[in-house]
């Protein structure tokens, strides 16, 4: 008897969310991101046509080719994915934007657009595949590389690193998380929550570059991550329809309700941390840095922060489907405009 193909509630199989075969290196952390993004969208029953992918330039930004062929995608310019997404998402506010960026893309030329997309709270899942190194140009230091990092053919890194999560918090992102490619289960839960968040969801994913920066002592390696990762909580995501069914033990689990009624459940793992205080989040990072820890999980969320779509006073129906005859103001109105000129 032939086995029935597994499908989600929409009747789509996982292959409906597949992209082109990956041309990234075998073992690249970004492949885990691709895999978990496909799983999250499949399991959340999001029609591929409702997703739009954006990316900048670099290994990270090639990743959108490897998931969801049935979604529109735009591979833009270095560090300038956020502006592209900002303009495009206005065309149809029912679409879900996924922005793929890297540390080279976001933490250097992209710093300005990164900061401003958060400030505007454009609904966008903003994934930074962070490996501390420029892969496509073969192994130069990125701005997130730790001080003292030694790479082949490069001078030892003399500068302090930029911390994407820290910058996101200071930049007032309404959703800030850190994942690790070596922890796919948590990554998937973070992606699910981000896909349901109504605002910019920044997920800094430590995603090792197996070719250029995976030495055991590198802060962006699998080995370092495995030893130093401290997950803040056991994270699970409950879609809107299922939230009433969920029961949780008092005091052990905190829940965060999102814009669409879905919930993020945070089961405590020995920390008494709730992600609703930006100041506490910054303190957490500062303490973790001192202890040489890689803190992962949902670090900050404010589901109520207004998005750019709430601020701009726009109709709910897609702007890119407004009929031509409604686009042009009337002939009479031009008469009035002319009459009011001197």
């Amino acid at each position: 008897m032939a086995r029935k193909k597994r499908v989600n509630e929409l009747g789509y199989s996982k292959s409906d969310y597949a992209g082109a075969p990956s041309t990234l290196c075998a073992g690249c952390g970004h492949n885990a991101i691709v895999g978990q993004m496909i799983a999250a969208c499949y399991e959340e029953n999001i029609p591929p046509e409702k997703l739009v992918k954006f990316s900048g330039i670099g290994c990270s930004s090639k990743a959108p080719t490897y998931f969801m062929n049935r979604s529109f995608g735009f591979n833009g310019l270095h560090g300038r994915m956020p502006s592209l997404a900002t303009g495009a998402l206005f065309a149809d506010m029912s679409l879900i934007g996924i922005g793929m960026s890297g540390d080279g893309d976001t933490a250097s030329i992209g710093m300005g657009q990164f900061k401003h997309v958060m400030r505007r709270n454009v609904p966008l899942v903003y994934v930074v595949a962070n490996n501390g190194v420029y892969g496509l140009t073969k192994g130069q230091m990125s701005a997130t590389a730790e001080e003292g990092l030694a790479l082949k053919r490069q001078e030892q890194n003399k500068y302090m690193p930029i911390d994407i999560v820290w910058e996101a918090l200071v930049g007032r992102a309404s959703f800030v998380a850190r994942g690790f490619s070596g922890d796919p289960k948590q990554l998937k839960a973070l992606f699910k929550a981000a896909l349901h968040h109504h605002g910019t969801a920044v997920i800094d994913v430590i995603s090792p570059c197996v070719t250029f920066n995976n030495q055991d002592d590198s802060h962006h390696s699998y080995a370092w991550g495995k030893i130093h990762e401290v997950a803040l909580h056991e994270l699970s995501f409950v879609p809107p329809a299922e939230t009433i069914k969920v029961e949780y033990a008092e005091g052990e689990t905190a829940e965060v309700e999102l814009h669409d009624g879905s919930q993020i459940l945070l089961k405590k793992l020995g920390h008494d941390y709730e992600p609703d205080d930006r100041g506490a989040a910054l303190q957490l990072l500062e303490d973790a840095n001192k202890k040489n820890q890689l803190v992962t999980g949902l670090i900050y969320i404010n589901p109520k922060q207004k998005s750019i779509f709430d601020i701009e006073y726009l109709p709910p129906s897609p702007l890119n489907r407004v009929p031509d005859e409604e686009l042009r103001p009337s002939r009479e109105s031009l008469g009035e405009v002319n009459a009011k000129m001197f």
Binding site: R70, G73, P82, A91, N320, V322
Partner: protein
């Protein structure tokens, strides 16, 4: 009052006034009151602000020309000077023609170095004090004194000044009354103290009845809105800022749904020009009518994204309100120096159509036409104007409602894809005209999506490094550019019987060139004139060049950029193409054009 000649017959409706003031002193109210009063009297008038890159304190000038012949270009001479600024006093006095009128604030105590002009010191402070204004408004009212004195000297109808101020202050009675009170005092003072007849006068005529007054920036914004503009991202830069500001001003009036109160047009002030163009391209890609506006420095920043939009075939309109470069240059002075930059903006073999509006009303027309062209050709379309056209108030024909429906180009939605009898590919040239069919996000057809990239791609938008695929794609883009040549606005050609030489000019120089043509004709130098309205040059332009012995390409930059572009396009005609460039930051004048051509013709 002082001396010298008074001409027997005054010059009527044919002179220029230059007002020298301190930047930020509120002289715009006074100057615009004069311009609008002349306009309401039916006298063709132009006003040009020559201002410094400064908020307050540096010298600034405003020149007004009234011309019964309808000449609106800057004049080389000034017959009346108003000196309100001690720092530019000596310089301003030097500008005046012999026999001209020199009005100045009597608290400026400087040597009068000329005895061949009419000198009128005005008791500015005294007259303003007489109307007992609030202390903080005193300085602003000073300028109304020269308005009143000029009204008396020239014969400006005070009622017309009242109408002008009514408009300026949007009917707010208090400031109107206060300003009119000062004007009244000044008129009275002039009547009692100036007994000489003015050598310059204005008289009511009927030269402005079919005109309005507006700036090119406002017209460009309105034209875009009437072109169905849906998205605009921008970043502040002089002299382009007025264009997006006008979009914001008219958005609630023209693009707000009366029932829901929701906007059909999005405006985002971006963090810089890199982001402004990125947003505009994102919107254009996703199926919105999209535009950004900037000036040269901003355009430089937009280069890389424009190259992507060209290669990925994204419709977008870019307005460049040119200012003087290179570099930061003269940010408040006019120029036509970005033609090469715009035409070839971006790395690789990029080339872009450019529209050149030659009047304020044409800014409106090209505003909507550019959006049509961008979507029909699926490519960036540039509209180039300059500070003079963009920021100054011009008398211009009323804006004409578009005479063709909105054109969205080749776009496929769900039903179109469902009913297609061929296999769609994003970059497949099905029609053989170089323009493929596109889909946009939100389309729910399972075959609608494609991946857009600035890297090599084949007809089905798949990544490709294949040499032949690359070459074929670039050749198709060139076919599209050749198609643009047949779609962009055609030139406006003015012919004369027996002319053997021709002029090619464009944009804000039109008034100066057209005036110069009259002068040349009067000097028996017959000249035809082609006002170029777009690049690439159309067949009409090529024919015009072939049909003349010599062609003068006139432009406001140093290197003759348009001359270079035309020469490249018509290398067999290059010997007859002569470049005449004027590059001072000031507007071109008819005298300069006439003299430049005569000098060449006499060679």
């Amino acid at each position: 009052m002082t001396k010298t000649k008074s001409a027997s017959e005054p010059a009527v409706n044919d002179f220029s006034i230059t007002v020298g003031t301190v930047n930020g002193s509120g002289s715009q109210t006074a100057n615009m009151a004069l311009v609008r009063a002349f306009f309401k009297m039916g006298i063709p008038v132009s006003g040009k602000n020559i201002f410094p890159s400064n908020i307050q304190g540096l010298p600034t000038w405003y020149s007004i020309r009234v011309s019964k012949d309808g000449y609106l270009a800057r004049s080389e001479t000034t017959e009346i000077v108003v000196a309100m600024n001690k720092d530019s006093f000596a310089e301003d006095l030097d500008k005046l023609v012999p026999g001209g009128i020199f009005l100045y604030a009597d608290d400026i105590r400087q040597d009068i170095t000329r005895d061949d002009v009419l000198l009128y010191p005005m008791p500015v402070k005294k007259l303003v004090r007489e109307v007992e204004p609030p202390r903080e408004l005193r300085d602003y009212l000073n300028n109304m004194v020269y308005v009143g004195v000029l009204a008396h000297l020239l014969g400006i109808e005070v009622e017309k000044l009242q109408q002008a101020l009514d408009f300026h202050f949007d009917g707010k009675q208090k400031p109107i009354d206060l300003n009119m009170a000062v004007i009244g005092k000044a008129v009275q003072w002039a009547a009692e103290n100036i007994d000489q007849a003015s050598p310059y006068r204005v008289e009511t005529m009927h030269g402005t009845e079919e005109y309005i007054m507006a700036t090119g920036n406002t017209a460009g914004a309105l034209g875009s809105i009437y072109g169905g503009l849906q998205f605009s991202a921008w970043y502040p830069i002089t002299p382009a800022t007025g264009l997006p500001e006008a979009v914001m001003k008219y958005r609630p009036i023209l693009q707000k749904d009366p029932e829901t109160g929701k906007y059909k047009l999005v405006v985002v002030q971006a963090e810089d020009e890199l982001a402004a163009v990125g947003m505009a391209i994102g919107a254009g890609w996703a199926g919105l009518r999209s535009m950004t506006a900037t000036s040269g420095p901003g355009l430089s920043l937009m280069a890389e994204y424009t190259s992507l939009a060209y290669y990925a075939e994204v419709p977008i309109v870019l307005w460049d309100v040119q200012r003087m470069g290179p570099s930061t240059g003269l940010p408040t002075r006019t120029s036509q120096g970005d033609i090469n930059l715009a035409h070839y903006l971006g790395q690789g073999d990029t080339q872009h159509p450019i529209l050149f509006p030659g009047s304020v009303t044409e800014c409106f027309e090209f505003g909507w036409k550019a959006l049509d062209l961008a979507e029909e050709l699926q490519t960036p379309i540039f509209v180039l104007i300059d500070l003079d056209l963009g920021m100054n108030q011009w008398m211009t024909r009323p804006f004409q409602y578009p005479d063709t429906p909105i054109k969205r180009g080749k776009i496929l939605w769900e039903d179109d894809l469902e009913n297609l009898d061929w296999e769609w590919g994003r970059y497949l040239d099905k029609d053989g005209d170089g323009v493929p069919y596109r889909t946009v996000p939100g389309n729910t057809h399972p075959k609608s999506a494609y991946f857009t990239r600035g890297t090599g791609h084949d007809e089905y938008a798949n990544y490709s490094e294949d040499p032949e695929t690359w070459d074929a794609n670039l050749k198709r883009l060139n076919r599209k550019f050749e198609l643009a040549r047949t779609m962009v606005p055609k030139p406006e050609i003015h012919l004369q019987e027996g002319a053997e030489i021709g002029i090619i000019a464009f944009g804000s120089t039109h008034p100066a060139v057209s005036e110069a043509c009259d002068y040349l004709t009067a000097d028996d130098v017959k000249v035809d004139y082609l006002r170029l309205r777009s690049l690439p040059i159309t067949s009409e332009v090529k024919a015009f060049i072939r049909e003349h012995d010599r062609i003068y390409v006139i432009e406001m930059n140093h290197s003759g950029q348009l001359h270079q572009i035309i020469t490249l396009d018509m290398s067999d005609q290059s010997a007859k193409l002569i470049s005449l460039t004027y590059n001072t930051g000031l507007q071109l004048t008819a005298d300069w054009v006439k003299n430049a051509i005569l000098a060449e013709e006499e060679k």
